[in-house]
């Protein structure tokens, strides 16, 4: 599951800036916090963030699948090829500091992916556009950000359509890993070329509908904001600054 999922959770009801600020704080926190305890607190915060959006199960599953290759790579790089001391688990000789390092790095990656997926699942692109429009953000920037939230589901829908069409023409998806890799060609090429061809039309259509107008857009239904949410966003900013301050202070020490 990647993309917006309608719902009525606190995150769905929150001002989009608040949801994005929470996700952003988790993302920036993942770069600032490097100690094992800090990282596991970060992962716990990401899980709580996802749970408060009511999308923990689906987001965690997708986050697990997306970060699995990275976990595998970290395990090989640090766990198998890491420094001494080593411990033996079955037939494997593992680096103890390497495994600890892999867990920390993997935890940071998983927290980032989970926060991103949760933000995607709980931020309605329409509400985000309305919120940014109400603040007077130029449409170009609004479109850039909102499109980022919608591009993955749109590509997935398009890929599903192409896959069905190619299967109707005899494309076989089963078999060995190599056969599956080979099947990517007939999917990827029309996916990319089709998307590029449609971009031209979309640019014209958006231009015809005033997307490039210099006038300030009218917000029709801006999501409500509150002083509590504004305070939370300010607090998150302070928290992120403090985390980086803590990181640099520790580096100097």
């Amino acid at each position: 599951m990647i993309g917006y999922v309608p719902g009525a959770s606190p995150l769905h009801r929150a001002h989009p800036y608040t949801t994005l600020a929470l996700a952003g704080a988790l993302l920036l926190g993942a770069f600032a916090l490097t100690q094992p305890l800090e990282v596991w607190l970060l992962v716990a915060a990401a899980v709580a963030f996802s749970a408060s959006g009511g999308v923990l199960r689906s987001s965690a599953r997708t986050a697990f699948l997306l970060s699995l290759p990275i976990w595998a790579l970290l395990f090989v790089l640090h766990g198998l090829l890491g420094a001494d001391p080593r411990t033996t688990v079955g037939p494997l000789s593992l680096s103890v500091p390497g495994i600890a390092r892999a867990l920390v790095l993997g935890g940071r990656v998983t927290a980032i992916v989970l926060a991103f997926l949760t933000a995607l699942a709980t931020t309605s692109p329409h509400r985000l556009v309305e919120a940014m429009t109400a603040r007077g953000v130029p449409f170009g920037r609004t479109f850039l950000l909102a499109s980022t939230l919608t591009v993955l589901p749109r590509m997935r829908e398009r890929a599903a359509r192409i896959l069905e069409a190619q299967q109707c023409r005899g494309l076989r998806l089963g078999g060995s890993a190599i056969a599956r890799l080979r099947a990517l060609g007939p999917l990827a090429l029309p996916l990319v070329l089709g998307a590029l061809a449609e971009v031209d039309e979309q640019v014209l259509a958006l231009d015809a509908r005033g997307a490039a107008s210099a006038a300030r857009r009218t917000a029709l239904d801006p999501p409500p904001d509150s002083s509590a949410q504004r305070s939370l966003r300010a607090f998150l900013l302070v928290l992120v600054v403090a985390a980086y301050g803590w990181k640099f202070w520790r580096m100097r020490g």
């Binding site: 449609e198 300030r216 009218t218």
Partner: protein, 253 residues
């Protein structure tokens, strides 16, 4: 009647192209016109639409030659594939249609009124709260036309608007065009669908290799419709009947 668009020996070459897509085209488009532009694939009908509405070269790039005067305050354009013309950022049909007027910064109530008026005109008021991505192709194309009309364009250009529609949806779309023209707008349709075009056209132009090969009353120009071919084979004199009811009347006579 004052021309909304005047082309005098106009030509157009796409960026990177060696030969022009349009050459030596002289044409006036006035309010109340339903001008049908036909021709073989690649004859330049779509290009003529882009040039006449000002999108070429302003948006698509390229080089314009000859004279062009666009007196129309605003031009709308609709393409064949409705899903490429959605913003992808609106959760209801009403919001999608209101996107254009909102882009020009009209007051909120004026934006909503424009959207309601366009939905009434296209007979899609019942779809107002539906999600655009859940609509059928025919419904979606009418939403796209309504979105263009919500901007109150003086020239509405449609590029093969029924290409992706089933016969009923195509009929429904073509049926609204005379009413749009009667409201004081110019409608320009590029299409190979001569049967439907013949039903609504007030004037027709045929292009060959980017040049105007024939122009005039639909009965004189659109003689490639099946009823016209039957009439010609039967030895009927010009003008040929362009649709089945006209053919039946002619045969009865």
């Amino acid at each position: 009647m004052t021309a909304l668009v005047e082309l005098e020996r106009a030509g157009f070459t796409y960026p990177g192209a060696r030969s022009p897509a349009l050459s030596d085209v002289s044409l006036d488009i006035a309010a109340g016109d339903v001008l049908v532009v036909t021709g073989e694939a690649g004859a330049g009908a779509s290009t003529l639409l882009l040039v006449a509405t000002g999108f070429a070269p302003r948006v698509v790039g390229g080089k314009l030659s000859g004279q062009r005067r666009i007196a129309a305050r605003r031009c709308g354009v609709v393409f064949a594939r409705p899903w490429t013309q959605l913003t992808g950022l609106c959760s209801t049909v009403r919001d999608e249609i209101a996107f254009g007027p909102a882009s020009f910064g009209l007051p909120r109530q004026a934006v909503l009124d424009a959207a309601e008026r366009a939905m009434r005109e296209l007979r899609i008021a019942h779809l107002a709260e539906r999600e655009p991505s859940q609509l059928s192709g025919g419904e979606l194309q009418r939403v796209v036309v309504a979105a263009a009309l919500a901007l109150d364009p003086e020239v509405l250009a449609l590029d093969d608007p029924a290409a992706e529609l089933d016969p009923e949806a195509a009929d429904a779309l073509y049926d609204v065009l005379p009413a749009i023209a009667a409201a004081g707008k110019a409608v320009v349709v590029a299409t190979p669908d001569l049967e439907r075009a013949a039903r609504v056209a007030t004037r027709a132009v045929t292009l060959e290799h980017g040049r105007i090969a024939a122009r005039g009353a639909p009965a004189d120009v659109l003689d490639g419709t099946e009823p016209a071919l039957v009439a010609r084979a039967a030895g009927c004199p010009r003008p040929y009947p362009l649709d089945v009811p006209a053919l039946v009347r002619r045969v009865r006579r």
